[in-house]
């Protein structure tokens, strides 16, 4: 199964979620120190980045897009299903619900091409605040996966 964490504009949230999913001992400091976290450019939009394989054997990816995310996901899932791949082989998880004002301001500064200490501070603060929510999102995903595994076993 392929799991893609995605978000609008910046990879900060999906990257954190994917990292937690693969290794639940991940710390904010480690994510913030990642060199490409603030290396923003539109070339990353739509690209799938591999993070690792989780304990269930699922491949974990993360991705960012510009806008119209729901259209994007519907189109991918729709076409993939017509290619004979089961829909539940591909799970997209939107991490945008974990965003907060600090991350939004950080994103805004990135959009203005301002990558400086202030931007990093906003991201650091925002990610620290969002970490709990992201962990919860990952936990929910893991529960969903466990449920799917159980239902397959019972079949």
């Amino acid at each position: 199964m392929i799991i893609v964490y995605h978000s609008y504009y910046n990879i900060c949230l999906p990257f954190t979620a994917a990292s937690i999913h693969c290794d639940n001992t991940t710390k904010v400091a480690r994510i913030i120190s990642c060199p490409f976290l603030l290396d923003f450019d539109c070339y990353i939009w739509g690209k799938l980045f591999f993070t690792g394989i989780d304990s269930f054997g699922n491949k974990i990816y993360f991705m960012a897009y510009n806008k119209a995310g729901s259209i994007f996901i519907r189109a991918i899932i729709g076409i993939i299903s017509y290619l004979g791949i089961e829909k539940d082989q591909l799970i997209f998880i939107d991490t945008l619900r974990c965003a907060n004002y600090y991350l939004n301001i950080g994103n805004f500064l990135l959009r203005m091409k301002l990558v400086n200490n202030l931007t990093k501070t906003f991201f650091n603060k925002g990610l620290n605040l969002a970490f709990q929510e992201i962990s919860l999102l990952v936990e929910e995903t893991l529960l969903q996966l466990e449920g799917m595994k159980e239902s397959r076993r019972s079949k």
Binding site: W45, G46, K47, L48, K59, N66, I71, F72, L90
Partner: protein, 161 residues
């Protein structure tokens, strides 16, 4: 092979191209207003359905024809989609083609589509889109012929503009 005709909303130009491809619209004359507006999916896909592929039918050599709206982020979508195809080991050249019909649009279709789908003024918008399509109809036929030729020769790329 699966052929996906795509445009912004997947409800005007892509629908007409797909119906020309399956043979429901004529290739020797320009169809009337009613012939176009009575096509399934024509000017009927709402905002919440953009992105969902709609099956149109099979052409004379068994290719499956679909229409899909990709919104304004087609380049980003194709980035992600190609990445995903690699991950799941699908060779897109043998399985599908995405035909971009946006290159065939003129201002009447664009404005008509906006008026009908966004502003909800269906009667005015639909009239404009049909008018625009009738003006560009010969180009539509040429595009479908190109697609059929490339598919038959096995030379079709993943994305055809």
């Amino acid at each position: 092979m699966k052929i996906f005709y795509c445009c912004y909303g997947g409800t005007h130009s892509s629908v007409v191209l797909a119906w020309i491809h399956v043979g429901r619209l004529p290739i020797d004359r320009i169809p009337s207003y009613f012939e176009i507006t009575k096509l399934p999916y024509y000017d009927r896909i709402g905002q919440n359905r953009i992105g969902v592929p709609c099956y149109i039918g099979n052409d004379d050599i068994g290719n499956e024809i679909f229409v899909i709206g990709l919104g304004s982020q087609k380049r980003i979508f194709l980035n992600a989609f190609q990445g995903l195809l690699k991950i799941i080991n699908i060779n897109p050249n043998k399985e599908l083609i995405i035909v971009n019909s946006l290159s065939q649009l003129n201002c009447f279709i664009r404005i008509g589509g906006f008026i009908s789908r966004r502003l909800g003024l269906v009667a005015v918008g639909r009239l404009l889109t049909v008018w625009g399509i009738q003006i560009r109809y010969q180009e539509f036929i040429r595009m479908v012929k190109d697609v059929k030729y490339l598919v038959q020769k096995g030379k079709a790329p993943l994305v055809l503009n």
